[in-house]
């Protein structure tokens, strides 16, 4: 390959590494083989000179503007000769990437003169990836991109943990008058256009707040519809996952609420829309960053989870079974879906991403460490919170579940957060244990492998020793045979000499 000439204005473009055999001044073996008809001296129209002219012309034509794709039709008018043959040369050059390889990417600002144009090889390791529509080479995509088409959960974009859960914390499902800041009993009045509510008292008093008229407010009578207790919310969530889109059944299971109430309540819940979306079957996942991965996991904590499972090692089927699993009733299997989601995500991303996500999750969890302590304030749980690396997670978490029913007064959100935190902590601990186990196993296996190798070597050495002794024995035997032969020869010669035969005769006879 020619070196770049720093004095001239250079026009660099890439050609694939496997075309590095190409030399400007000469015709390579590959070309000779491909175009035998030029080199057989049987025709006047096909000579090496002609071939070289065709080839050089086409390449130079391409180099006049490397950003555009050179077409055969545009060059053939310049060259005299059979168009089929010209096309063969053209296709050959294109196939080897000597022309049209990196077209459309580079915008050259100037035309390089034909004499000074030199070109440099692309990255030596292989082909430089160009995402050109004209390129004939396959385009590699980063592996993560492909995973966006697989199933999983779809969340509103850039959902952050605090966004989701802070809303839950604040809105206690208790309606507060927008004006006097007291609890609104029903009936209350809701503004048509905004979400401002005012209680009956304020309405009567005419305290509508700024710029609002009496007409703007709508009387909302049905109190039962307004207030959702936690049990009802839980029931609602359960039944949504079980029944999916079937609002009749959901209304039945949440007995005190009508269909419309259920729907509106679900929409109000920060994650309600995604629940509805996921429940109706189409699951799309996005795995944007590692931190969001951790946060996604946490937002799944709307399920109540109890047990831990082997997560990272399990392989979870990804599409349909997961969708079905999400419809299963909440409490008992809620955690399985969470953990399995974690497992699915972990199995999809590369190991470095998974470790980073795990680290981020653990870091966030450490902030939450105080939470479980506050809520579950028994001795068992202080132990649990402190030594997380203990075994016997199941028993701890069963107690956890029992106790969870205890502090009823605590808002759902905090409980959920706590349980998420503990579950993930437990999961992390389990993971560490498993990882240690794996390491030990690996060491063991390595030791056995080394052992076997040693044994192999030893047996080989033994074998070679035996061979050597055999060879020694053979050597002795051969030595002996040699001796006898020499002796015989000597005796023959002696006889010969005694009987007066000359040496010369001896030689000729031997010949």
């Amino acid at each position: 390959m020619e070196a770049t000439d720093p004095s001239a204005e250079l026009e660099l473009y890439t050609i694939p590494a496997q075309s590095s055999w190409f030399v400007w001044d000469d015709i390579h073996e590959i070309e000779r083989r491909e175009f035998e008809e030029f080199f057989t001296e049987s025709s006047i129209t096909r000579t090496p000179k002609v071939y070289k002219e065709y080839r050089d012309f086409i390449i130079n034509k391409f180099r006049e503007d490397t950003s555009r794709r050179l077409t055969f039709t545009s060059v053939r008018k310049f060259l005299v000769g059979d168009v089929n043959l010209l096309q063969k040369v053209f296709l050959f050059l294109e196939k080897w990437g000597l022309i049209n390889f990196s077209s459309s990417l580079k915008k050259s600002n100037h035309l390089s003169s034909l004499d000074n144009a030199k070109f440099e090889q692309g990255t030596p390791a292989g082909i430089r990836v160009t995402a050109t529509p004209n390129s004939l080479r396959p385009i590699t995509t980063p592996p993560l991109v492909e995973e966006t088409t697989e199933t999983g959960i779809k969340l509103p974009p850039l959902t952050s943990y605090s966004d989701v859960f802070s809303d839950l914390k604040k809105s206690d499902d208790v309606l507060v008058c927008g004006h006097c800041r007291e609890r609104c009993d029903s009936p209350f009045y809701r503004h048509n256009k905004s979400i401002v509510n005012i209680c009956e008292k304020c309405f009567k008093n005419g305290n509508y707040g700024e710029n609002n008229a009496a007409d703007d407010f709508k009387l909302i009578e049905n109190s039962a519809a307004a207030v959702w207790t936690e049990e009802e919310t839980l029931l609602l969530l359960e039944s949504v996952l079980k029944h999916g889109d079937d609002w009749e059944l959901i209304a039945q299971s949440v007995s005190t609420k009508s269909r419309l109430d259920c729907i509106s309540k679900l929409i109000e819940l920060p994650f309600g829309e995604f629940l509805m979306g996921s429940a109706s079957g189409r699951l799309i996942s996005s795995i944007p960053t590692e931190d969001e991965n951790a946060e996604q996991v946490k937002t799944d904590g709307q399920h109540e989870e109890t047990e831990t499972r082997e997560e990272k090692e399990d392989h979870v089927d990804e599409d349909e079974p997961q969708a079905k699993r999400k419809r299963v009733a909440l409490i008992s299997d809620g955690d399985s879906s969470l953990m399995k989601q974690v497992a699915a995500m972990a199995s999809k991303v590369g190991p470095s991403v998974a470790t980073a996500a795990a680290k981020a999750a653990l870091a966030a969890l450490c902030d939450e460490a105080s939470c479980p302590k506050e809520i579950f304030d028994t001795d068992d749980y202080t132990n649990f919170a402190v030594d997380r690396a203990d075994g016997d997670k199941d028993t701890d978490l069963e107690e956890l579940q029992e106790d969870k029913d205890g502090p009823q007064g605590l808002p759902v959100a905090l409980r959920i957060r706590a349980s998420v935190a503990t579950a993930l902590g437990a999961a992390a601990a389990q993971a560490k244990i498993l990882a240690d186990q794996e390491e030990r196993e690996m060491e063991q296996l390595a030791a056995t492998v080394i052992d076997q190798q040693l044994k192999k070597l030893q047996s080989k050495l033994k074998f070679l020793d035996r061979l050597e002794s055999i060879m020694d024995a053979e050597e002795e035997v051969i030595e002996g045979v040699k001796e006898t032969i020499i002796q015989e020869r000597v005796s023959v010669l002696q006889c010969a000499f005694r009987s007066g035969i000359t040496k010369r005769w001896d030689h000729t006879y031997v010949k």
């Binding site: 025709s43 129209t45 000579t47 002609v50 012309f57 008018k77 005299v80 000769g81 059979d82 089929n84």
Partner: protein
């Protein structure tokens, strides 16, 4: 045998289309009861003959022509095929003949004018492939243009192949037993082949001279409907 005059002469070859696939160009122009059927396509001469009738019947059915066309179509195809086959037994000298092929045809709204060189001796040439590349490079969208171009090329090749058979026969008749030196005169006699010696010698370059560039450049025109109608009317008048 390497004499300067007969470079490239491979000896007489049995007549066939000098392309990778031995396909015969068939042209149909049948008028009957006020209806006119014009068509052009390529036919594989090694197909069994009953295929001709099947093809004619299917064409009539697809185009909803009166049934009488079937026999006319079949007859026309058969006669052209038998012409082709008549030549098949004979020798042709192809030699190193590079001929210019001209295109000047109109397909629906597309007008193509082009000229390029074709080596008659290159039995791997492929008019269809050439037509495909032409349409692709020039961005021709009408899918009927490609086959029309290929057909035009084939027709011209066919003509020239026939001529070479004729000239071979003449030279054989006129000068018996001296076939070796005939080739040069045979190829020059056709008058079409280029002066290869001059073009491909050591001194000259294969890059075409500037003044010839315009001739050898493909030109594609897209016509409007009115122009198409005008041209069609003119063609009809010429035909009559």
């Amino acid at each position: 045998m390497k004499s300067l005059v007969s470079t490239g002469w491979k000896g007489p070859v049995k007549f066939r289309m000098p392309t990778a696939e031995n396909l015969v160009p068939i042209r149909l122009d049948i008028q009957f009861e006020g209806q006119r059927y014009k068509d052009a396509f390529t036919w594989n001469p090694s197909d069994p003959d009953n295929e001709v009738v099947i093809f004619a019947k299917r064409t009539v059915k697809d185009l909803k022509l009166p049934y009488a066309f079937v026999t006319q179509i079949a007859q026309s195809i058969q006669s052209q095929l038998s012409d082709f086959r008549a030549y098949e037994g004979q020798d042709m000298y192809t030699g190193e003949k590079i001929i210019p092929i001209k295109l000047d045809l109109r397909v629906n709204h597309t007008l193509i004018k082009d000229q390029f060189l074709w080596d008659l001796n290159n039995f791997e040439s492929d008019p269809e492939e050439f037509a495909r590349t032409l349409c692709k490079d020039l961005g021709v969208e009408d899918p009927e243009v490609g086959p029309a171009v290929a057909f035009a090329i084939r027709e011209q090749l066919y003509e020239i192949a026939i001529q070479s058979v004729a000239s071979a026969r003449e030279s054989r008749l006129s000068k018996k037993g001296r076939r070796g030196s005939d080739h040069g005169s045979a190829s020059k006699a056709s008058g079409l082949s280029m002066d290869l010696m001059k073009l491909f010698s050591f001194k000259s370059s294969v890059v075409r001279k500037r003044k010839d560039l315009d001739v050898y450049e493909p030109v594609v025109d897209l016509l409007t409907s009115e122009e198409v109608d005008a041209l069609e009317a003119r063609e009809e008048r010429h035909a009559r």
